[in-house]
């Protein structure tokens, strides 16, 4: 049982982590330089995650820490960092996340199987939101890419018949067509749809037909994640040679007031998260980063002017990365203490009989 003492340790651990994160951020702010400047490109932003156009875009290595502040916690992390790039063309902004994951987890139908996923969090209101999905009154905008949605788009909806090739059932209420039937086509009558409750009530997770693999969400703290009706996030994820590469693209101008605003010459405190399905990572059990401040380069006044270099100096980046790694180590140490305090007594001295 989590005793009051161990809860205190946990709270102290979270507070120390946040303090370190803010210290790191304070350092970058005092330098008056964002950690990464999203450069302007005269060409449209690359939509293919494996496009060679990404080769010339500056990259930043973002350390990740396991989410251990709230229940359910991730105590066995599997991904240490993610490489992030970003570019804009004055109409759209594109982010690319690249991380090593030896397992390609694209299924989400089996009860014990979890998908890979990645997310970017932006503040909506001014001020510093919590790295933990915002806070009351401070909305965060979260773009969440899902490997199972990607698979649905690339290879067709993962119906029961794809999960279980020998599956057969002869009857469903109000179904059309012939066994073994095809979802969603044969289940489109409202009465048939009522037997798929998540779909019937409009849950975004339950929609079988998708155009993009990224969900646009808003949140104002733990447990508040809510699908945003407007502004699809376009993009694509590709797994190759043990590496996921995922591109997120959105118009620079937000479609609603409660979505991320990218102001040219402005700055954004952005956070990243990655889930490894094979490690049963889902929901709060994830690897997340602390804030990375992004600047947005304004397009040149005349097209002849050369595009300026990203001002984030190598030295500043190095300091920030080292500081974040320090925070990571401290967090792991504190998490270990919490685990140690919570470990159940090992020996058992009898059977299970009452």
């Amino acid at each position: 049982m989590r005793t009051a003492g161990s809860m205190r340790i946990r709270v102290v651990a979270i507070a120390a982590l946040i303090a370190l994160v803010l210290t790191v951020r304070g350092h970058t702010l005092s330098a008056q330089q964002p950690q990464y400047v999203v450069g302007y490109s005269a060409n449209p932003v690359p939509t293919d995650p494996l496009s060679t156009a990404w080769d010339s875009v500056p990259a930043i290595e973002v350390p990740l820490i396991p989410q251990a502040g709230v229940t359910p916690a991730l105590l066995t992390p599997s991904i240490a960092s993610v490489t992030v790039q970003a570019i804009h063309d004055d109409a759209h902004i594109a982010f690319r996340m690249v991380w090593a994951d030896p397992t390609r987890d694209v299924e989400a139908g089996r009860p014990d199987v979890f998908r890979d996923a990645a997310a970017i969090q932006f503040p909506v209101a001014a001020g510093v939101p919590s790295i933990c999905m915002g806070a009351a009154g401070q909305i965060s905008n979260i773009w969440h890419w899902k490997a199972d949605w990607q698979e649905d788009i690339d290879a067709g909806f993962q119906d029961i018949t794809r999960l279980y090739p020998h599956f057969f059932k002869d009857y469903y209420p109000f179904v059309e067509g012939e066994p073994p039937y095809s979802f969603p086509d044969d289940f489109s009558q409202p009465d048939a749809r009522a037997y798929s409750p998540g779909w019937a009530v409009g849950n975004a997770l339950s929609q079988p037909m998708r155009e993009w693999p990224i969900e646009n969400l808003i949140a104002s703290g733990f447990g508040t994640l809510t699908t945003h009706e407007q502004a699809a996030i376009e993009g694509r994820g590709v797994w190759e040679n043990g590496t996921w590469s995922v591109v997120f693209i959105r118009e620079l101008t937000p479609a609603a007031a409660d979505l991320a605003t990218f102001q040219e010459a402005g700055e954004l405190a952005t956070a990243f998260a990655v889930w490894n399905g094979s490690n049963e990572e889902v929901g709060a059990r994830k690897q997340l980063s602390s804030f990375v401040t992004f600047g947005i380069e304004a397009p040149p006044v005349t097209p002849d002017e050369p595009v300026g270099e990203a001002p984030a100096s190598r030295d500043t980046t190095l300091i920030v990365v080292l500081a974040l790694l320090g925070a990571f180590v401290v967090a792991i140490t504190l998490a270990t203490i919490v685990v140690g305090r919570n470990a159940p007594p090992a020996p058992r001295d009898g059977g299970t009989g009452a």
């Binding site: 229940t71 359910p72 139908g109 199987v113 199972d148 037997y195 079988p208 470990a343």
Partner: protein, 375 residues
């Protein structure tokens, strides 16, 4: 973490939320002595609620043969093993609940069943606990035994599924205590599946969110008993509103069975969920096995149940079980009849304690034969 009082283990325990008793609590009593494992309940539920795409493997109601039947595989044996010794001091549980035994980073002790664990709902069916040896004869309790355990969601007072959901997508209705998964808020994390010790949350592979027994709430709202209760051909089941021991109403059939006669017991009370489906223990099964499953009141319950022929009130409630599909709020036994009343106090059912029977003579003088069946 808040502390709540769980009367089923007769002590306070830690739970992530403050105790919030509903206005009234959905409940049922299942008499395990009468279950024949016919699965009519299972299929009345399946036809009513889980015949959609992705629900094929789901049995919100299932009936498993104990000791070797499980749905999903080893759901209880595995958790009992994880929980370690479960000790009682009289009526007070002195071991750990699944909340108190929660590992770091989790709301409750539990496990996520493997995919294949759901694939054998009939495993162990009709298998007895051991081998019949030479010279065996019938005794009570039986030396070789099995019994059927029908199970639905227990709509617990302190649900582990609700405690484990980081999104608060699971809620307990204040009007009847039925526990539901909000199909709009659920994001399919399956923390609830991992935490529910009874493994009565199921993940829909097509909608990719979790679903569970809904307590037939549209029927309950209309004064009807649930599909599994109303369709039970063995008449082993009865719905009712359960109260806490200090507010028990002796005219309420479920309160009478649970709190007054104490013949109906909670399933694995040591898990700490204050669950709301109660079981009358099977009298032919050794109490040593049943104590682990139904707690320390097993011997007393069996003793009381076996005296039912001298207890018209207890007999009255038992004959009302399955006698109507309406929800019985109160009962009365008078003039050899048991009468059930609805919420407004109107009579909805009347059953004789003893069915009228015509008994014929053994010997049929007209035809010069003896009869095999005289009733």
């Amino acid at each position: 973490m808040p502390t709540v009082f769980n009367w089923q283990i007769n002590r306070e325990m830690e739970y992530p939320y403050e105790a919030a008793l509903p206005e009234r609590q959905f409940s049922a009593v299942f008499d395990l002595n009468k279950c024949i494992g016919c699965q009519t309940c299972t299929f009345s539920c399946k036809g009513g609620w889980t015949s959609g795409r992705g629900q094929e493997y789901m049995f919100w109601n299932n009936v498993e043969t104990k000791p070797y039947g499980f749905y999903p595989m080893a759901w209880d044996a595995r958790l009992l093993d994880m929980l370690g010794p479960q000790t009682w001091d009289g009526d007070t549980y002195t071991g750990k609940t699944i909340f108190e035994a929660a590992p770091p980073g989790r709301a409750a002790l539990g496990f996520l069943p493997d995919e294949e664990d759901w694939a054998y709902p009939n495993i162990g069916e009709d298998e007895p606990n051991g081998i019949v040896s030479d010279g065996a004869y019938l005794q009570i309790p039986h030396p070789v035994w099995h019994f059927y355990l029908p199970r639905i969601c227990n709509h617990c007072q302190f649900p582990a599924c609700l405690a484990a959901c980081p999104r608060k997508a699971i809620y307990k209705r204040p009007e009847d205590g039925i526990v539901l998964v909000d199909q709009q808020r659920c994001r399919g994390y399956r923390e609830c599946m991992r935490a529910c010790p009874y493994k009565k949350i199921m993940y829909n592979p097509v909608t990719r969110v979790s679903e569970k027994c809904i307590g037939c709430f549209p029927r309950v709202e209309n004064g009807q008993q649930t599909l599994c209760v109303a369709n039970c051909i063995g008449r082993i089941r009865m719905n009712g509103w359960i109260h806490t021991p200090d507010t028990a109403d002796p005219e309420n059939p479920v309160d009478f069975l649970v709190h007054v006669r104490k013949v109906a017991l909670p399933l694995y009370p040591q898990f700490g969920l204050q669950m709301n489906i109660y079981y009358i223990p099977p009298v032919h099964v050794p109490p040593r096995y049943l104590r682990q499953m139904l707690g320390p009141g097993v011997e007393r319950a069996i003793e009381t149940y076996r005296q039912v022929h001298d207890d018209p009130d207890l007999l009255g409630v038992l004959v009302l079980s399955g006698a109507t599909d309406r929800w019985i709020n109160k009962f009365l036994v008078r003039d050899g009849q048991a009468i059930g009343f609805d919420e407004s106090g109107a009579e909805i059912v009347r059953v004789p304690l003893k069915e009228p029977a015509f008994i014929r003579a053994f010997h049929d003088a007209e035809r010069g034969v003896f009869r095999h069946n005289i009733t």
